[in-house]
């Protein structure tokens, strides 16, 4: 794959210039040492891949540090304007994809996975 091929990614990509303030949800993946060693990188991969697969363009994915519950890593937090953040813990790529479907696409948090 050449750099030239990345142009296909930009063509008609509605998510390319999304600003933090305009996002429906912001997802912050915990990237402290505890998170990274527990698999945060693979959680991020599942998150981005499922968002792309569903063509969801109004969610921003960002990072945060250690959330103080190292034994519950990998973790991420879903923030929405005017709502309490929802914190997910003990995540796996599969559970992450479910959260994208139910929470980020469907609007309903998965209580069972929250901490």
């Amino acid at each position: 794959m050449k750099l030239e091929d990345l142009k296909k990614a930009v063509d008609g990509d509605r998510g390319v210039e999304l600003e933090e303030g305009d996002a429906r949800y912001t997802v912050a993946v915990a990237m402290g040492t505890c998170g990274v060693s527990a698999g945060a990188r693979e959680i991020l991969a599942a998150l981005m891949d499922e968002l792309a697969a569903r063509d969801i363009v109004d969610v921003i994915v960002t990072q945060t540090g250690c959330m103080g519950m190292c034994d519950r890593e990998p973790m991420f937090e879903v923030r929405a304007e005017g709502a309490e953040p929802v914190v997910y813990g003990d995540m796996t790529p599969e559970k992450t994809r479910e959260v994208v479907a139910e929470h980020l696409a469907g609007g309903t948090p998965i209580e069972e996975y929250t901490v």
Binding site: M1, V36, S37
Partner: protein
């Protein structure tokens, strides 16, 4: 950590937390010299001499790891178990360079691991930071410069889910070509 690539992801988080706008990651494998050299450089807030000394002092790290951090001591420990070491060069207000050396053929050396995934994660999570990445292996190399990519594509960020997909493929391809020689 099971991969050197995960250490790199973790060490680069320090740079991000230090407010770096530019981060350079270099991985050099040299079979002849039997070394792997990893360098992470940032233009973040830097550290004072005392902090650096404490970070690399086994006395502090074994007594109460929490009080001086975990990531750098872990990285240093990994390096030391395979005949290498970690050095830090930092200046307050200027930035930091973390250099790690490993013996390539040491039996306890963790694999380099998925560098494409590590670089991809850094770029995806930090759209406003510019990354220069270079992976050299016995004369061949794969290099990425986010400022150059953004300029080429005419965009300011590389973090949309769709871009992330393409970027991942681009990075994996580059790493694979390097691995195939």
């Amino acid at each position: 950590m099971e991969e050197l690539a995960l250490h790199i992801l973790d060490i680069a988080q320090n740079s991000i937390r230090a407010g770096a706008r530019n981060i350079r990651v270099t991985v050099e494998e040299d079979a002849e010299a039997d070394t792997i050299t990893i360098v992470i450089t940032d233009d973040g807030s830097g550290m004072g001499e005392e902090t650096v000394k404490r970070l690399l002092d086994p006395f502090f790290t074994t007594r109460d790891t929490r009080s001086v951090g975990l990531g750098i001591p872990l990285f240093a420990q990994t390096a030391e178990t395979c005949g290498g070491n970690v050095g830090i060069d930092s200046e307050l207000g200027c930035g930091t360079t973390v250099t790690a050396r490993f013996q390539l053929n040491h039996i306890d050396r963790p694999p380099i691991g998925d560098m494409a995934a590590t670089v991809w994660a850094l770029i995806t999570l930090n759209p406003k930071v510019e990354f220069k990445y270079r992976h050299a292996r016995d004369g061949a190399e794969f290099a990425v410069d986010t400022a150059e990519i953004k300029n080429f594509l005419g965009v300011r960020k590389l973090n949309s889910p769709r871009m992330a997909r393409y970027l991942k493929e681009y990075l994996s391809d580059g790493e694979e070509r390097l691995a195939d020689g």
